[in-house]
Amino acid sequence: MSEIKIVNATGLACPQPVVLAKQAIEASEHVRVIVDNDTALENVKRMGTKLGCDVKTEKKNDGTFEIDLKRKAGAIVSKDDFDPSCSTTTLSGPFVIVCSEDKMGRGNDELGAVLIRAFMHTIAGQAEKPDVMIFYNTGVKLALQESEVLDDLKELAAEGVEMLVCGTCLNYFEVKDRLGVGVVSNMYDIVGTMSKAGRLINP
């Protein structure tokens, strides 16, 4: 009754972890699933919640995750109401920030210039970093050597954030020689990245 069924789903590709976890929770009241990637973690958690289990997760030092699924009293685990698809809605594409202006918001330029500095400081300090940042139109000015936010952008770049700076825009403003961070990019890469984005924000 109180025995924990262990499912080791490390090294398995989607949808195997979810399928195994589902079979286990149908048979046992308390299941511990071990997975080794975020996608499996999210999918197993979602399955557990949907089937009416208490879900607890723990990150282990070796990079794996333990997910404890416990059937709630009275919860009926139905055999066919969950589709173990490899949905990765939480991780379906890169997190992209698009800076189309050197300001945040529209209406007052002086205020917008203040806000974008506060925005970059906050993004650089928060745990969830974007995967890619794109700069075009006056947004390219944020990536120049004299930019007020250059230090924040450099910090982000050092942590692996890819920075694409529109070459046409640098050329138009005649500032290509003053680029302080990021790579000179083109419309193909910019549109390609935006099209694949899981989340895209435009401050």
Partner: protein
């Protein structure tokens, strides 16, 4: 790079005071950074100026009687 150092922040009554103070500090070449007011101080969407302790005296001297300062607070990480 960040977080190890302790910082001070200067709080102002309004954004325009913060900007005025920043202009003065820039002209005096005193290192500082305009940042959002830390959440532990206020949940308002304000901005303040952050600086390292070493510049405290110079910064205070530069701003005194030019810009109204609400408060100088030490940031504890």
């Amino acid at each position: 790079m960040k977080a190890q150092a302790s910082y001070y922040v200067i709080l102002f009554k309004s954004v325009s005071y913060a900007l005025k103070a920043e202009k003065i500090l820039k002209a005096e070449k005193l290192p500082h950074k305009l940042i959002p007011v830390p959440k532990q101080i206020s949940s308002d969407c304000g901005v303040c100026l952050r600086f390292e302790p070493a510049f405290q005296d110079d910064i205070k001297a530069a701003l005194t009687s030019k810009v109204e300062i609400e408060e100088i607070r030490r940031l504890i990480h």
